[in-house]
C-alpha cells in the first residue's frame, strides 16, 4: 500500500535525519514504528501522509509515485489515510462532535446523513459524555481519543498514529491499543509510532526500529 525505496530526508541544509529507508506497509497490516526520541519517527510519518517530500528516494502511496503528485491529487489520497497527531490538532472553536465530523463535512456530506455515525464512533472511543465539549475543557486522554475518532471517521485504508499513548495512563493506553487492534481486524492497516516499550510488549507485532537515521525491521 505504501512503499519506500532508498528514501533519505534532510531538513534544509542539516544532516540527513533518515537514510536509505526501504520498506513496505502492507494492506491490513499492523506495525509499531519505534526508536528513541529524535530518531525521526514523526518525520517518517509525515512522509507517509504526504506532509513532507523526501530529499531522495522513491515513495509510492496507494500506487502513486509521490514525486509526480500535483496538489490537486493530494486530497483524494489523504482521504484514504487517517492521521493522529502527537499534538492532536483539534480545532479549538469546535466541539468534539464537530471535530470528529470534520473529515465528512470537508467531503461535502450532509450532516443528517452522518450524524449518527459520528455519535456512535465518539461513544465507541468513550467520549459519549463529551460530545459538545470544546477541546480546551478536554483532558489529554480525551483529546487523544477525539483525535483518533477523527482519523477513523471515514474508515481509512491506513491509520497513522504518532505517540497515541503519550498522554494517557497505562490502563487507557491498553484500551486504546485494543481499539487499534480491533480496527486492524476490521481491515485497516495500522502504524503506531511510539517509544513506549511497555505498549509494544503487549502485542506480538511487526516492529520498524529507527536508530541513527536507519531502519531495522523485526517481523
Amino acid at each position: 500500500m505504501i512503499r519506500f525505496e532508498n528514501v533519505g530526508l534532510r531538513y534544509d541544509m542539516g544532516p540527513e535525519v533518515l537514510r536509505d529507508l526501504t520498506f513496505e506497509i502492507r494492506r491490513q497490516s499492523f506495525q509499531f514504528l519505534t526508536g528513541p526520541s529524535g530518531a525521526g519517527k514523526t518525520s517518517l510519518l509525515r512522509m507517509l501522509f504526504l506532509a513532507l517530500r523526501p530529499t531522495r528516494g522513491l515513495i509510492t502511496v496507494l500506487g502513486r509515485d509521490v514525486a509526480t503528485l500535483s496538489r490537486k491529487d493530494l486530497p483524494s489520497i489523504r482521504r484514504r489515510i487517517g492521521v493522529v497527531f502527537q499534538d492532536f490538532r483539534l480545532l479549538d472553536h469546535m466541539t468534539t462532535y464537530e471535530n470528529v465530523a470534520l473529515p465528512l463535512r470537508v467531503r461535502g456530506r450532509q450532516e443528517h446523513e452522518y450524524r449518527q455515525d459520528v455519535v456512535d464512533l465518539i461513544k465507541w472511543v468513550g467520549l459519549g459524555e463529551r460530545l459538545d465539549a470544546l477541546p480546551i475543557v478536554l483532558s489529554g486522554g480525551e483529546k487523544q481519543r477525539a483525535a483518533i475518532a477523527r482519523a477513523l471517521i471515514d474508515q481509512p485504508d491506513i491509520l497513522l498514529a504518532d505517540e497515541p499513548t503519550g498522554n494517557v495512563d497505562a490502563p487507557l493506553a491498553r484500551r486504546l491499543l485494543r481499539l487499534f487492534l480491533e480496527l486492524n481486524r476490521s481491515g485497516t492497516a495500522v502504524v503506531i509510532a511510539t517509544h513506549d516499550l511497555g505498549l509494544m510488549e503487549q502485542v506480538d507485532a511487526r516492529r520498524l526500529v529507527l536508530a541513527d537515521g536507519r531502519l531495522e525491521i523485526y517481523d
Binding site: 509525515r46 501522509f49 504526504l50 506532509a51 513532507l52 517530500r53 503528485l69 500535483s70 496538489r71 490537486k72 493530494l74 486530497p75 483524494s76 489523504r78 482521504r79 492521521v83 490538532r89 480545532l91 472553536h93 469546535m94 466541539t95 462532535y97 464537530e98 465530523a101 470534520l102 473529515p103 463535512r105 470537508v106 467531503r107 461535502g108 450532516e111 450524524r115 459520528v118 455519535v119 460530545l131 459538545d132 465539549a133 470544546l134 477523527r150 471515514d154
Partner: protein, 329 residues
Amino acid sequence: MTDTAAPSTAGPSRTQRLVATLRGRGQTPIVPAGNVAGRALTTVIAIMTFLAALTVGAVSLVTDTAGRWQNDISNEITVQVKPADGLDMAQALETVRQIALQTPGVKGATVLDEAATGRLLEPWLGEGVDLQELPVPRLVVVSIDTGDPPNFEFMRQELQEAVPQADLDDHRAWVSRLVTMARTVVFVGVFVLALVIVATTLTVVFATRGAMSGNRHIVEVLHFVGARSSFIAREFERHFLRLGLIGAAAGGAVAIVVFVVLGHLTEANRQTPEADQISALFGSFTIGWTGYVGVLLLVATVAALTALTSRLTVTRHLAEIDMISPVEN
C-alpha cells in the same frame, strides 16, 4: 460557539434554524467568526462604503438638479433690455412683449415688474432702492412651448430691429456649461468610487492573507483531513462575505441617515434667505430614489467584492500553506 450542530435530541425552533442557516448550514463556521482583525476589517469596509455612498448621493443629487435646471431653463427664455439715453423703458418693454407674443411657439410673455426686479437685485444693491434713478436693465420673461420652440434667430432679429437695446438670451450657453459641470461632477464621482473600490479590494486582500496566516493551523488540519482547495476557499469566502455584508450595510445605513438628515435640515431652513439661495440652486438637498437604490447596490457590490477577493486570494496563496510543498502545476 458551543451551540449549533450539537447532535441534541431536542428539535431546534424555527428561529434557531433560520439563524443557523444564516450562519452556514447550521454548523460552526470553519473559519472562526470573531476576532480583532475581523472587526477592524468590518470597520474599514463600513467607512469605505460610507464614503462611496456619499459620492453616489452627491452624484445623484447633481445629475437630478442639473436635469431640473435644464428643464426649467428651456421652458423660459429672457429678453433683456438695457437702458440707454432717450429710451422709453416702459414703451420698449411693451414692444418686446408684443413681438414675443406674436412669435409662433411662444406661450406667454411677462415684463418683470419693478418690484420683482428690485427683489432680484436686492442681494447686490440692498433694500429700498429706487430703480427709476438707476440705469438697471429690465427683463421680459418669455415662456415657450418646449414641444414646438420658436425660431430664436428669427425672434432675435425681429427684436433687434424694433428695439436695438433688446438682447435675447435663450440660456443655451448656460445650459451647456451646466451640463459640462454636471458631467465633470459625475466623472469625479466615478473616479472617487473607483479609488474607494480599489482601496477596499486591497484591504480585503491583506485581511484575507492575515486571516490565512492567523488560521494557518486550521488550513493545515483541513488539508490533512482531505479538504480540496475549493472547499477551503469557500469557507474563507463565507467568512469574509459575512464581514463584508455587516460592514457595507453599516456604512450604507449611516450614509442614508446622513442624506435624510441633510434633506430635513435644508427643508426646514427654506424660509431663510440663505437657504433660499441653496434651494434655488439645488432644490432641497434631497437624494432621489436613484440615490437610495445606488446605495443599496453599492452595499451589495462591496459585500460581493469582499467575498470574491478573499476567495481569489485564498486560492492563490493556499499552496504556500499546504504541508507538502509540491512542484506547482
